[in-house]
């Protein structure tokens, strides 16, 4: 039971707003020591896992391109483009992006879009511009930007599991095989389709309601 102290530390650390890197390290330390792992072995295990998961950090390599283009007016152009389109709304824009993200993720193309590559330079400024135009407010619409980021996540999560070679499908196959249950990846991926449709409908309805809320009174 003592090994659960790490979970308590994580929750308490986030609630008390300590630096999350520090909280994670202390949690790992408490958990490892409670399980009787020596400090040096613990540090080595932590270091090995850190090294093995470097792929999540490589996405920041797109920032020099995005930064350079922003310096030369990329976001402003994205806003102007939206302002010139009649009948264009934040809800319709994000609904189109949701569909694009779900379909490409279902085809295994998960890195084609993302927060650094497409949301920051293109989708969020367009969403903000559309929302400002709809509501007539001058101020930056952070809610629309947050919705753009949320739409990216939802499209990715509930599209990618339809693709048979994605990490979660392979993990499920591997774990089940450990219990003597052999399943083809295809049989796992088809059962992701009902949830994918539900995610599109639920989030789509929310986007349409978001539109209605942004409309000028």
């Amino acid at each position: 039971m003592l090994v659960l102290s790490g979970i308590l530390i994580i929750v308490a650390g986030f609630v008390l707003r300590f630096n999350p890197l520090l909280v994670v390290l202390v949690s790992a330390l408490a958990t490892g020591l409670a399980a009787g792992i020596g400090p040096l072995d613990l540090l080595a295990a932590f270091g090995k896992a850190f090294n093995d998961s470097r792929y999540v950090t490589v996405i920041y390599m797109v920032l020099p391109v995005i930064g350079l283009l922003e310096r030369h007016g990329l976001q402003e152009r994205a806003r102007t483009l939206i302002a010139g389109l009649r009948g264009f709304t934040v809800g319709r824009l994000l609904l189109g992006y949701l569909l694009f993200r779900q379909v490409t993720a279902a085809l295994g193309l998960v890195s084609v879009a993302g927060h650094a590559q497409t949301v920051r330079p293109l989708v969020a400024p367009m969403a903000e511009a559309a929302a400002q135009q709809q509501s007539g407010e001058e101020e930056r619409d952070e809610e629309a930007a947050a919705m753009a980021a949320a739409t990216d996540n939802i499209g990715l999560f509930f599209g990618e599991d339809i693709f048979i070679a994605i990490g979660s499908i392979l993990l499920m196959k591997g774990v089940l095989e450990g219990y003597g249950i052999v399943i083809e990846p295809f049989h796992l991926s088809v059962w992701a389709i009902p949830t994918a449709i539900a995610a599109f409908v639920i989030h789509g309805v929310r986007l349409m309601l978001f539109d209605r809320r942004k409309r000028r009174p």
Partner: protein
């Protein structure tokens, strides 16, 4: 064969450039802290495999020390004013989108093409290799067309990187915490507790415990991948599959998706929820999570229903 052996050094050199850019920025109040942090990430990307496990552990201690002592911050990096940007946007028009779209377009075309040449490019890493190629092409277009100074793209990139700050290392830290949890057997203890909570003989109760357990454990761990082996062992296999005769493919697939609903609601899934809030300069760093909860909760309910009605025919 081309694979991560190309991607990691490329990303490492970009972080090294971020470190150099931070160090040169005399207007930046915490330039040393930021420069050190980016230099350590560069070291990890460039030489992580040669540092050894303990060496990587020490590197992590360095990152945590810099972030934990509050040595990082944002500078007022020199960039163009809103008026200059508006003028450039008006002059350059939609051509500005071309380099930005070159990245996803190359990532897409490259992934499809590289999968056809498994001898040249590691098929497992085709997307990351294609992404690296896309960034190289976009950067080349940017230099040729906009004619910036050599360091300008990296100064501008570092301006965005400063917005993300220490959060950049959080996803890797959480993955490592997951490894320690697995080593310490946390999952087995949680699974045992969950197993005892299920009301005897109630199929719907077991479905609820399994799906909500997936979401809750994902909220704590930030990753459905960590929750899945625990919940399938505690409830999925013994109660739903062996006990109630559930279809294993449906129990597994929909259980994982119930976990993804948890991912949408937790700051522990930093790269999906905290990093974008930082990248988009949101004042509310939980703004993305707040935007996701009203989708995540009904979707979790749908998953519970799907599991109950589809898996036990």
């Amino acid at each position: 064969m081309i694979g991560l052996n190309l991607v990691y050094p490329f990303a490492g050199l970009i972080f090294l450039a971020f470190a150099g850019s931070a160090l040169r920025d005399r207007s930046h109040g915490r330039r040393i802290g930021n420069a050190l942090f980016y230099a350590l990430i560069a070291l990890s990307l460039l030489a992580g495999d040669r540092l050894g496990d303990l060496g990587n552990g020490v590197l992590v201690l360095g990152l945590v020390a810099i972030a934990g002592f509050g040595l990082m911050g944002r500078g007022d990096a020199a960039t163009t004013s809103p008026a200059e940007r508006a003028a450039e946007a008006a002059a350059r028009r939609n051509r500005l989108f071309l380099p930005a779209l070159a990245i996803p377009a190359t990532a897409l075309a490259g992934t499809l093409a590289f999968k056809q040449m498994p001898a040249l490019v590691d098929p497992k890493q085709a997307t990351l290799v294609a992404l690296t190629l896309g960034v190289t092409i976009a950067l080349a277009i940017g230099y040729a067309w906009l004619r910036p100074r050599a360091m300008t793209p990296f100064d501008e990139g570092r301006r965005l990187m400063d917005g993300v700050g220490w959060a950049a290392a959080l996803p890797q830290m959480l993955a490592s915490l997951g490894a320690v949890f697995a080593l310490a057997g946390v999952g087995d203890v949680v699974g045992g507790l969950m197993g005892r909570l299920i009301p005897e003989g109630s199929l719907f109760g077991a479905v609820l415990a399994y799906a909500i357990g997936m979401a809750l454990f994902t909220i704590v761990m930030g990753n459905a991948f960590a929750a899945f082996p625990v919940m399938i062992a505690a409830v999925g296999i013994p109660v739903l599959i062996h006990g109630a005769g559930g279809n294993p493919a449906i129990v597994a697939a929909i259980g994982m998706l119930a976990g993804f609903c948890g991912t949408l609601m937790t700051p522990m899934a930093a790269n999906f929820n905290l990093v974008p809030a930082a990248l988009l300069d949101l004042r509310d760093r939980h703004g993305v999570i707040r935007a996701q909860i009203p989708t995540a909760l009904p979707l979790l309910a749908v998953n519970i229903g799907l599991l109950y009605w589809l898996a036990f025919r």
